[in-house]
């Protein structure tokens, strides 16, 4: 039997492999599978077309994979930007009381507005499309992570060895580089991965509502909103499989993040 640490590692590797398979498939897939084929439209799922075909005869599996890759790309970019913002703000907060007050205020402000509303407004203000969505997602998803990092920073700052460094005359920057950032790294990394599913679901949500990516892009949100029109005619596979795949991908990211957290955090890891 594997011990907990090994099991966690196996889960992580499996999740990474699955996610990269989706991504590589999406990137290197032959675009011919996406072409219109009016002779085989509205086909139910079969061995030829595992996810069925849509009203223009496009293979839904191919569209779903493309869509997932697109979502992952958007998620990667937006989660990275969000994590970056969170890190910067938490470090800013550690400088002095005034900055700390301002950052906490900003966090409370953003958290007090419903996510999706803020997201729609920002995305709309930036003209929608890919840029609008990424900016919107990046600007709305950092607060919870920033709050976590800020309290972490506060804790580290009150540690004895930090006090000793101060007494030895080390500059604030030196302490930041040598004490604070190395301790924040695991939190930041896990936080980054856990932002992913959140970001991806929100991307799909606003695209579904028509404020996100434009309809010619193969995004899951676009696929889902298009398929709504065909649900009452019984083409259930248009929404079911892409939706399920989105759910699975989000669950995989969630699993990945939690297990890395388990493996990486020295205390949580042993507690299991």
């Amino acid at each position: 039997m594997l011990n907990l640490r090994q099991r966690t590692a196996v889960i992580i590797i499996l999740a990474i492999v699955l996610l990269s398979v989706i991504m590589l498939n999406g990137i290197f897939m032959d675009n011919d599978r996406l072409t219109v084929n009016l002779d085989s439209k509205n086909n139910a799922p079969s061995l030829n077309h595992l996810f069925g075909t849509d009203w223009l005869g496009r293979d839904m599996l191919a569209r779903t994979l493309k869509g997932l890759t697109m979502s992952m790309g958007v998620g990667l970019l937006a989660a990275f930007l969000s994590a970056w913002i969170a890190l910067m703000l938490s470090l800013l907060a550690s400088l002095n009381k005034t900055f700390d007050y301002m950052v906490t205020w900003l966090i409370d402000l953003i958290l007090s507005v419903p996510h999706i509303v803020l997201l729609i407004m920002i995305s709309f203000a930036f003209g929608g499309g890919f840029n609008g969505v990424v900016v919107g997602l990046a600007l709305t998803h950092w607060p919870s992570l920033a709050r976590l990092l800020r309290s972490e920073v506060l804790q580290i700052k009150s540690a004895e060895y930090v006090g000793v460094s101060q007494q030895l005359g080390k500059s604030k920057l030196w302490i930041l580089r040598h004490h604070i950032i190395p301790h924040l790294a695991p939190q930041l990394f896990v936080g980054f991965i856990l932002l992913f599913p959140h970001v991806i679901l929100h991307e799909a949500a606003i695209t579904f509502l028509g404020f996100g990516l434009s309809t010619d892009q193969p995004a899951i949100g676009v696929i889902l909103s298009e398929s709504m029109r065909y649900l009452s005619t019984g083409l259930w596979w248009l929404a079911f499989f892409p939706g399920l795949s989105l759910l699975l991908m989000v669950a995989l990211f969630d699993l990945l993040g939690k297990n890395i957290h388990k493996l990486g955090g020295p205390f949580q890891g042993q507690r299991g």
Binding site: T35, V36, L38, K41, W55, L56, G57, S144, L194, P197, H198, L201, G210, S214, T215, D216, E226, M228, R229, Y230, L231, S232, T233, G234, W236, A239, F240, G243, L246, L247, V250, A251, D254
Partner: protein, 529 residues
């Protein structure tokens, strides 16, 4: 936590969606009274005021017009009993019937007609009366219209403009329309429905149905209402047409509700007054436009995208009295299309895309995002162009973006009117860059000449002969035989599910706009005996 909540919500939505897919119920209501429930969409944002555009198509319901078209587009009298045009085409004299009253009992006289057209002229709405110099009363029941220039299409304004009462017209007229039409408005719940009842003072034949309810539902909800037997007339999209609905029959009406691609006609470089770029070097080449027109498979678009509910389109006005049948071309001819391209120097490179003098045969085809039929047409069209070596990139945009981009990019547009003036607006040099009219900056002097002659003609048949020549006179024209500034692709059939016992009679060729036009002869609808 948030993730869990989101996941949970996603699952909930799925469950709800699946639950929505249960089988249809077949409780078609057995009512056979004189009431009718319609779900054909088309709630007018501006209300029911003909002077701002209400009732251009279909029945104005609450008002009536001076003249009408019958189903073959022959002019019939309605409020008018006679009309005459002077030899120079400038003076139109219309005589009114003497027995017409508004629904409040007041008589309809020349004053009301004058008031209607003067109000419409000053309203700045879509009704273009700029050519109307003035109009005055000859006697209580005779009106004289004086035009600045002869205009054969002026008659269409008499066909489509409902007469409003001078004594009862005010700020809120659009919500409380009083008129001389077959019905009067009882109730308008904005965003939901209108309820109308028979107008007891109507001068024409009494309508069979005494009460009608028009529901304003989304496509999906309308279809669900049909399935549940809650509506008698429902407009539906082709995707739903294969569904059997108990107690309902499918009505398929031909239309000039067309879809086609507008190609920028000039070389790139120009700019509109607002600074939008004009022109596109690829589509400015007539070989590209001609090859596309010849190479595209219109029948396949009808079958594939419209599920067979449509017809191939060759001009903006197929099958209307002013249409020239010689504009029909043999399409789906890849060989000839390739020959056209090669003869003019467009040669294939190693990627399979044609090039001429370093310019590659590629363009972005824009369509309004959210319009599923135009999207499907654009995507399918792009595929069809691939074997020709023309690289088409379909891209969805909002109407706002389109208004900036349409002068320099091909756009999937839709037109189709019962007024030949539309031809003038789309193809005349005079209307270049005027709103959506002639946004591709098409210009051809001999076409202009025909268009002007058609407009100045004093009889309809004379006008029609010039409209036809503008399309193709054997040498030039604006159709695909000539300059091909557009590639018209399909005419949509308008589909309705109606109660199997309801008779709506024969309909006109339907115009652009699916829904309200079906009400054209609504006062003649009846249950099957």
């Amino acid at each position: 936590m948030k993730i869990k909540k989101l996941t949970f919500m996603t699952i909930l939505i799925f469950v709800a969606l699946l639950a929505g897919c249960r089988g249809e119920s077949d409780n078609s209501s057995p009512k056979k009274d004189d009431e009718l429930i319609l779900a054909i969409g088309g709630e007018p944002d501006e209300g029911f005021d003909p002077t701002t555009g209400w009732g251009r198509y279909g029945s104005p319901l609450f008002q009536s017009t001076l003249l009408t078209y019958d189903k073959d587009f022959n002019i019939q009298y309605d409020l008018a009993t006679d009309y005459a045009v002077s030899a120079d085409g400038l003076k139109w004299t219309v005589e009114l019937r003497k027995d017409a009253t508004f629904s409040d009992g007041e008589a309809l006289t020349a004053d009301d007609v004058i008031f209607t057209f003067e109000t419409a002229k000053s309203s700045g709405s879509i009704i273009d009366l700029s050519n109307l110099e003035d109009l005055h009363k000859v006697d209580e029941y005779t009106v004289e219209f004086n035009l600045k220039e002869p205009e054969s299409t002026f008659i269409y304004l008499l066909v489509s403009t409902g007469i409003v009462p001078e004594h009862a017209y005010g700020e809120n007229y659009n919500e409380n329309p009083i008129g001389s039409g077959p019905y009067q408005l009882v109730q308008w719940d904005k965003g939901q429905q209108i309820i109308v009842e028979e107008n007891p003072n109507y001068y024409g034949d009494k309508p069979y149905f005494k009460k009608m309810t028009f529901l304003f539902l989304s496509e999906d909800a309308a279809f669900a209402a049909a399935k549940a037997g809650e509506a008698d007339v429902v407009s539906i999209q082709p995707a739903f047409a294969d569904e059997e609905v108990a107690g309902m029959k499918l009505i398929q009406l031909e239309s000039v509700d067309n879809r086609g691609i507008m190609f920028p006609f000039e070389q790139a470089g120009g700019e509109t007054e607002e600074g939008a770029p004009i022109g596109n070097d690829v589509t400015a080449d007539i070989a590209i436009r001609k090859a596309i027109n010849v190479g595209v498979d219109r029948q396949k678009l009808v079958g594939g995208v419209l599920e067979g509910f449509g017809t191939p389109a060759y001009t903006v006005a197929d099958n209307l009295p002013w249409w020239n049948p010689e504009t029909t071309i043999d399409d789906n001819n890849l060989q000839q299309a390739r020959k056209i391209l090669e003869d003019s120097g467009w040669l294939e490179n190693e990627d399979g895309i044609r090039e001429k003098n370093g310019l590659s045969a590629a363009f972005t085809l824009l369509y309004p995002a959210g319009d599923q039929i135009r999207q499907s047409l654009s995507i399918t069209f792009a595929e069809m162009m691939r074997p020709l070596g023309i690289h088409v990139i379909p891209e969805g945009k909002s109407w706002n973006d389109l208004e900036y981009l349409m002068y320099s990019n091909p756009v999937m547009m839709g037109w189709g009117s019962h007024d030949p003036l539309e031809i003038y607006n789309l193809y005349s040099s005079e209307t270049r860059g005027v709103g959506y009219y002639n946004a591709n900056y098409y210009s051809n002097p001999s076409v202009d000449d025909y268009l002007n002659k058609a407009l100045r003609a004093t009889s309809e048949s004379e006008a029609n002969s010039y409209w036809k020549k503008a399309q193709w006179d054997g040498e030039t024209g604006f159709s695909a035989q000539g300059d091909a500034p557009w590639a018209w692709l399909v005419n949509l059939d308008h589909l309705y599910l109606i109660d199997e016992n309801l008779e709506i009679g024969e309909q006109k060729i339907q115009p652009h706009g699916h829904g309200w036009p079906v009400t054209d002869f609504i006062e003649q609808w009846h249950w099957r005996e």
